[in-house]
């Protein structure tokens, strides 16, 4: 059986003043109904571009989908018409954004905004849509939803606003829900509540969730499977437990080592030295080579491909040759 959302060999390029750069390179991901796929990586790894490409929201120009396919329940999205994509967005695929502070329109009440999302895809009256909006606010755990529906975004706290965003995203019972760092801007306690809510929503609606994050804690809590991204490529993909317990790629190891552990007597935070290289400076070799402790000659000259080297798929020459 094919997956509900099947991204295959996706390539996205952007025209920049450095010429055309490849933001996503042969990215393959898939997620099934009721499943949560975690996508991790530092800023600039291509996580958000993956999400936008799936929504059909790559700003074009300068960006474009240069190759590969995105299939939602068997339907190809990469060449689909604007009208078809618009009909799917919000109805079948929905997205929760990183910044609940800025992703709600400040001049309309939150109830109106949710009602608008409903009316874009369902033939209901404005009054009925507003009632549905109140029911949704209630569903996402907002106290006195009828009053809150008449509030403006700036009157709500960050956690409340993210709940509103979730209510809007699930208003048409999407099959796929993309959450782009949904808790980055929130307090830790609120983060846990939002994750609980996402889990509940998933159980109730059976949606597939793509959780984009750089927080390994979130991955361990939420994800069934994990894809680790680096410089526009998926460099490791497996069940969440496998990646967390036995990361293969040196970058994945680094990410997991970076999680500070309580009670281990560590006095310094660990880090991965260096930063993600700018996309226009990517050479022929492994994009991670400059930051890698296990680098050897082959890493400079040949791009490693995602393949199973014994444990689970990883794109690393050192793993392939058994050096680590």
């Amino acid at each position: 059986m094919t997956a509900l959302l099947d991204i295959n060999d996706l390539r996205v390029t952007f025209n920049t003043r450095y010429g055309e750069v490849t933001a996503l390179d042969s990215v393959s991901l898939n997620v099934n109904a009721g499943e949560t796929l975690g996508v991790v990586g530092e800023s600039g790894c291509g996580k958000s571009i993956t999400a936008l490409a799936t929504m059909g929201l790559i700003p074009s120009p300068p960006g474009r989908i240069a190759g590969g396919s995105i299939k939602l329940a068997g339907e190809e999205l990469t060449g689909a018409s604007d009208a078809r994509l618009r009909a799917l967005r919000g109805a079948d695929i929905a997205m929760i954004f990183q910044e609940p502070m800025t992703s709600l329109n400040p001049v309309f009440t939150v109830g109106d905004q949710i009602a608008e999302a409903i009316m874009l895809h369902q033939k209901v009256s404005a009054a009925q849509a507003f009632k549905d909006a109140i029911a949704l606010l209630d569903r996402v755990g907002i106290p006195s939803p009828a009053e809150r529906a008449r509030d403006y975004p700036h009157q709500l706290s960050g956690g409340m606003r993210q709940r509103v965003m979730i209510a809007m995203a699930v208003s048409c019972r999407p099959k796929v829900l993309i959450a782009d760092e949904p808790t980055t801007a929130l307090d830790v306690t609120v983060q846990a509540q939002i994750f609980d809510l996402l889990n509940e929503i998933q159980r109730e609606f059976g949606a597939a969730i793509i959780l984009i994050t750089h927080d390994m804690g979130a991955i361990s809590e939420m994800a069934d499977r994990v894809a680790v991204m680096y410089a526009g490529r998926v460099i490791e993909q497996a069940r969440a437990d496998d990646v967390l317990d036995a990361p293969q790629h040196p970058y994945a190891r680094g990410l997991i080592d970076c999680i500070p552990a309580l009670g281990k007597g560590e006095t310094e935070l660990r880090e991965i030295p260096g930063v993600v290289p700018p996309l226009h400076l990517l050479g022929a070799g492994c994009a991670f080579a400059d930051r890698c402790a296990h680098k050897f000659a082959r890493c400079e000259s040949e791009k490693p491909l995602l393949a199973d080297h014994g444990h689970h798929p990883a794109a690393c020459h050192a793993v392939e040759e058994g050096r680590i």
């Binding site: 929504m55 929201l57 120009p61 618009r86 009909a87 799917l88 967005r89 919000g90 109805a91 929905a94 997205m95 954004f97 990183q98 910044e99 800025t102 992703s103 709600l104 329109n105 400040p106 001049v107 309309f108 009440t109 608008e116 999302a117 874009l120 895809h121 106290p143 006195s144 009053e147 809150r148 008449r150 509030d151 403006y152 009157q155 709500l156 706290s157 409340m160 965003m165 809007m168 995203a169 208003s171």
Partner: protein, 289 residues
């Protein structure tokens, strides 16, 4: 906790109104403009008299006769009657011209700012074309071509003054279209038309409302300028026409030009006070500087 406090929902517009109400100069502006509007609307019911009728000897100074307290002009026409009947056309031309300015400016600016690329290039070149033409001369040409009437004057003023509004709108659109709630609106499946008019435009309104108010002031001055140059509608009394007709005799009689001049001054002053007040109300942070 927000859910424990019982507060009334306050829309951004309502909040701006609250700020505006506390602004004394802006309220003074509303008061002055209110008086002027009431006088031009209802003044004639209390002070009968046709502005074009010759009622007394020419150049009667103010205060010389009890019947015509502000005196008469070079033909012996009553100045107060002129002020009361001339206010309506002056204000109407100002308002209509400002409305035309806003409609053209907002439409073109919104399309240019939203779509960018070649649409933006094309529309901005057109805008620049209108911007480099000397506004007053261009308006004069238009009015002469289409024979002076209140409508052609209003349209001419609107046609020459929209570029600024277009640029302002475009800049606001450029800024707002990058914001996350616009992407979020796309993500729920909204189409471009909807995003332009119901998502971005309401958020771009505050500076545009301010600009519209100030445009009314500029348009009133413009109308006065055209009338002063003899291009006003000769069949309709307006403040500009009074000044224009009497300007040759200014050394013999100061009052026929001074009183309509003061009327224009107070109107534009009041409109500017209101515009500034709106500006402060929409940008509370600027006010505290």
């Amino acid at each position: 906790m927000s859910d424990m406090t019982d507060y009334k929902a306050e829309s951004p517009a309502r909040e701006a109104w609250r700020m505006f109400r506390r602004n004394v100069p802006a309220l003074a502006g509303v008061l002055i403009l209110g008086i002027i509007v009431l006088l031009t609307l209802y003044g004639q019911f209390f002070y009968a008299g046709d502005a074009f009728d010759v009622v007394w000897a020419p150049h009667e100074p103010p205060g010389a006769t009890a019947e015509y307290p502000l005196g008469t002009d070079y033909l012996g026409r009553d100045i107060i009657a002129g002020l009361l009947t001339g206010g309506g056309p002056t204000l109407a031309v100002g308002a209509v011209a400002a409305a035309i300015t806003m409609v053209i400016g907002i439409t073109l600016g919104a399309l240019a700012g939203f779509y960018g690329g070649w649409v933006d290039n094309l529309l901005m070149r057109i805008t620049e074309f209108f911007q480099v033409l000397p506004a007053l001369l261009f308006a004069m040409v238009l009015v002469t071509l289409f024979s002076p009437s209140l409508w052609t004057i209003a349209i001419a003023i609107g046609v020459v003054s929209w570029p600024q509004t277009a640029r302002l709108t475009r800049a606001e659109f450029f800024k707002i279209k990058e914001l996350e709630y616009v992407t979020a609106a796309r993500a729920i499946g909204a189409r471009n038309k909807r995003i332009i008019w119901t998502v971005i435009l309401p958020n771009a309104m505050p500076p545009l409302i301010v600009s519209a108010t100030l445009t009314i002031g500029v348009a009133i001055l413009f109308e006065a300028g055209l009338s002063f140059l003899g291009l006003g509608d000769p069949n309709v009394m307006s403040w500009g026409l009074m000044i224009g007709a009497n300007r040759e005799y200014i050394l013999d009689a100061w009052w026929p030009v001074t009183f309509p001049g003061l009327a224009i001054f107070f109107t534009v002053f009041a409109v500017s006070l209101i515009g500034d007040g709106l500006n402060d109300a929409f940008n509370p942070k600027l006010r505290e500087r």
